[in-house]
């Protein structure tokens, strides 16, 4: 009888990975919107450009401007949550997560499928923006729905190869999103030197932490809010689940579980790049990051994470043997995957 389980189809590995990325992306967008809605209540006189950074975080500044013009709460929420034409909107992410889930329905558990399907149906039937008093709840429900999906994945699916691909996708997406929100907010907040130490400064940095559900955990560890501690927490922390370093550690762990190579070694290019990423995060101090320019540092991190993402596809797709004529298709070439992941 078979000694080891059958390895995953390359197509299935790809779909599971993307399913997880899209769910994670939907959850992040929902959280960003929720935090901004809250922030707005604390800053009643703040101009509408509070909403512009959300567009910048998702990397869609140009596309948004073209179709919607100036940012306002209603327009930004419409675009980020419900716009089917925006490939990174919550609605699009849930649609793509479901498409991927549907293509691997036999690999994931029925519970996971039912969850992603009902989230998709829910957002598709939401024709207009929720009523103002329902707004916060609506995005909270989406967030919880995504958490439920992740919880079901962890509790109802064997932690074998498919699960590790799922976790890999989830963690890379999460690391990417945390680095982006930090990048955009840091850039916005630092120039306003006159605000440093004012209540507004505190409110803004709290909002950054809340965007990644990190406010309470940060408080326990650092107490007072200072920009460099926030950077330390969101990039370098080894225990906070949305910190870049924590996510990359998990992603690396899953990649090793997939390849079977021991920690500290590599058997393929993606694993090598991932190892370099881990080392870079493990052996860099936050002071040197800030001295050298946070933006430049985060930019380099993102380029490296994108390189890992691209190499995963190379490493785990079987190249077509010489004698056959049909090409291997991967989602990279397929129109159903927006290019935003690899574009920044």
């Amino acid at each position: 009888m078979r000694a080891e389980p059958l390895p995953l189809l390359s197509r299935v590995a790809d779909a599971v990975y993307w399913m997880a990325r899209y769910i994670e992306r939907a959850e992040n967008v929902a959280r960003f919107i929720g935090v901004n809605l809250n922030l707005q209540l604390d800053l009643p006189l703040a101009p509408a450009h509070q909403w512009q950074p959300l567009i910048d975080t998702s990397g869609d500044t140009e596309a948004f401007k073209e179709r919607y013009g100036a940012a306002s709460q209603v327009r930004v929420i419409e675009y980020l949550a419900y716009d089917n034409e925006n490939p990174n909107s919550i609605a699009s992410c849930l649609r793509l997560a479901r498409e991927n889930a549907r293509s691997v329905r036999e690999t994931i558990s029925s519970e996971m499928w039912a969850q992603v399907n009902s989230m998709y149906l829910q957002i598709q039937t939401q024709r207009s923006l929720p009523e103002p008093e329902r707004m916060l709840d609506a995005f909270r429900e989406i967030r919880l729905g995504c958490h439920l999906f992740q919880g079901l994945a962890d509790a109802t699916m064997s932690h074998g190869e498919a699960w590790h691909f799922l976790r890999l996708g989830r963690k890379l997406e999460r690391a990417d999103k945390t680095s982006r929100i930090l990048d955009v907010k840091y850039f916005m907040l630092l120039p306003s030197a006159r605000d440093i130490g004012t209540p507004y400064d505190d409110i803004h940095w709290s909002a950054v932490l809340k965007s990644v559900s990190g406010f309470e955990m940060y408080r326990k560890k650092f107490g007072r809010i200072t920009p460099s501690d926030v950077v330390d927490f969101l990039v370098m922390d080894t225990e906070f689940p949305r910190a870049v370093r924590y996510c990359i550690h998990c992603a690396s762990e899953s990649l090793h579980a997939i390849t079977g190579s021991p920690p500290g070694a590599f058997s393929c290019t993606s694993e090598q790049l991932m190892g370099q990423l881990v080392a870079e995060l493990d052996f860099t101090s936050v002071d040197s990051v800030i001295r050298g320019g946070l933006h430049e540092y985060l930019d380099r991190l993102q380029v490296k994470m994108n390189a890992v993402d691209a190499m995963l596809r190379e490493d785990f797709a079987v190249r077509t043997p010489v004698i056959t004529t049909s090409p291997v298709q991967s989602q990279l070439q397929s129109p159903s995957q927006p290019s935003a992941m690899t574009g920044h």
Partner: protein, 484 residues
């Protein structure tokens, strides 16, 4: 809920006899339904519909770009089959499948049945589903039809007939299984006291059937996969469902490659050999080297590997020859020829339009007959005479005259009815029954099947693509519940 006002409307009703009295096997169920409070059955029905949508138990509709996935409508009132009747159906199906398999094997080898003048040679050679590529092939264990879904109907005379054999890639078994789950989930109280036979063995039986086909002498467990045309196929739900229930990979053509006359799948650790393929792709699209060269769904070289005995396919390519509706008319003769027995299950009387006398009769009686294209399925290419317009009949007459070999006709059957929830009351709707038969070293008939129901009032077309739904099918065990 009040069942007393239900009317059989002069049709054979599966639950009520000719005098309007509940049949013995339906009494307990009707009592349970009668005891339900106002609107309770409707609430259960709505709950069931919500579950269908939530679980994405859907089929894809072609030619409809927006919202291509639709739930397959489900009606909560089950169809009941008595134990004695079922054992008769079971014996009849086993006999029929045995003969059909012998026929297919004969047709691709000695063609004794042609030489002995039981079936005219031109019927075979003119069948578009006859595959010259399969001549001389010896599938594992000599079995061609591993999975069959035979359509049965009951006419107004109370007799059950075989309507179609569906030997190629029969679908619907996932709905049979899901319908039972749905019933247990939303309407558990009605099972009380009734010895309904379980059907959940089907995926295990299917897996066993598939594994039995693996090339002999493997040192490892055989790798069995299910080959789907992909997510946009109308039966994709079923493909993923069965793969999941059997715990086997669901593959698409692009996941497979043929090398050294063996089939391999592309995995994260390179190529892995595949030994058995449950293919849910028609012959035409299976292998562009052997069949349609423009197929994007299949695997180039698959037939080479199959011929080399390095991979098994279920069902065997070429078995559609017995699905031809002209061939159908000869099945009673096949049964006698190959088994020496009289057919247990009768055929529907069938007129073959390529026979001059039959054709004349058909053309003169289009308004009372059902005309079917010999190679279509799914309710396509069909004329239901009594429900047709003059223009439709004229168009069909031209088609028949242009290509008589491609058309057969049968009397319009008064399909039996089962009470079905319509609004807040029960009304009779016409049904058929598709049991599923597996053939490994023996022939197994799963005690149940898919009861399809024509939900439109008066309609006789039960296909999901044309307004049909389905019901759970309860085969009772002989321990109790049969006629006293």
């Amino acid at each position: 809920m009040h069942v007393g006002t239900y009317e059989t409307g002069g049709f054979y009703d599966e639950m009520f006899d000719g005098t309007g009295q509940p049949r013995v096997e339906a009494r307990l169920l009707l009592e349970s339904i009668g005891a339900l409070g106002e609107g309770q059955l409707q609430r259960c029905q709505q709950a069931a519909e919500r579950v269908l949508v939530q679980l994405g138990i859907t089929f894809n509709v072609y030619g409809n770009s927006a919202g291509t996935e639709r739930p397959f409508p489900f009606d909560l009132v089950p169809r009941i089959v008595r134990a004695e009747e079922w054992s008769w159906i079971e014996r009849g199906l086993k006999q029929r499948i045995h003969a059909l398999n012998a026929f297919i094997d004969d047709i691709y080898h000695a063609q004794r049945i042609v030489k002995d003048r039981i079936i005219p040679e031109e019927v075979i050679t003119s069948a578009t589903s006859f595959r010259p590529q399969c001549v001389g092939l010896k599938p594992p264990n000599g079995i061609w039809c591993h999975i069959t879904g035979t359509d049965l109907v009951r006419h107004g005379d109370g007799q059950i007939y075989v309507l179609e054999d569906n030997l190629r890639v029969p679908s619907g078994v996932s709905y049979m299984l899901e319908n039972r789950d749905l019933m247990k989930r939303t309407f558990p109280q009605v099972f009380e006291g009734l010895p309904v036979r379980p059907i959940l063995e089907y995926p295990s039986l299917l897996l066993r059937t598939l594994e039995s086909l693996a090339p002999k002498g493997l040192s490892t467990k055989p790798v069995v996969v299910l080959l789907t045309p992909g997510m946009y196929n109308s039966a994709y739900f079923e493909h993923s469902y069965l793969a999941q229930k059997m715990g086997i990979p669901l593959v698409e053509g692009r996941d497979l490659v043929v090398e050294d006359d063996a089939v391999w799948m592309r995995t994260t650790r390179g190529l892995r050999q595949v030994h058995v393929i449950y293919r849910r792709i028609d012959d035409d699209f299976l292998d562009p080297e052997a069949f349609r060269p423009d197929s994007m769904l299949g695997v180039p070289g698959l037939m080479r590997a199959y011929r080399a005995g390095r991979v098994a396919l279920a069902n065997a390519p070429g078995n559609g020859v017995a699905d031809d509706k002209v061939m159908y008319a000869y099945v009673p003769d096949m049964i006698k020829y190959y088994t020496g027995e009289d057919p247990i299950l009768p055929n529907v009387p069938t007129f073959l339009c390529w026979r001059d006398t039959d054709r004349q009769h058909v053309l003169q009686n289009l308004d009372t007959l059902v005309v079917k294209a010999a190679n279509e399925a799914g309710g396509y290419g069909m004329l239901v005479g009594p429900h047709s317009t003059v223009a439709e009949r004229e168009a069909f007459a031209l088609k028949i005259q242009a290509d008589p070999r491609n058309y057969i006709a049968q009397p319009t059957l008064a399909l039996s009815r089962v009470p079905t929830l319509v609004g807040d009351r029960l009304e009779g709707r016409h049904v058929d029954l598709r049991p599923y038969i597996l053939y490994d070293d023996d022939i197994h008939v799963v005690p149940g099947g898919l009861t399809r129901v024509a939900l439109r009032k008066g309609s006789l077309v039960v296909n999901s693509s044309q307004g049909g739904g389905s019901k759970d099918t309860w085969v009772l065990s002989s321990l109790a519940g049969g006629p006293a």
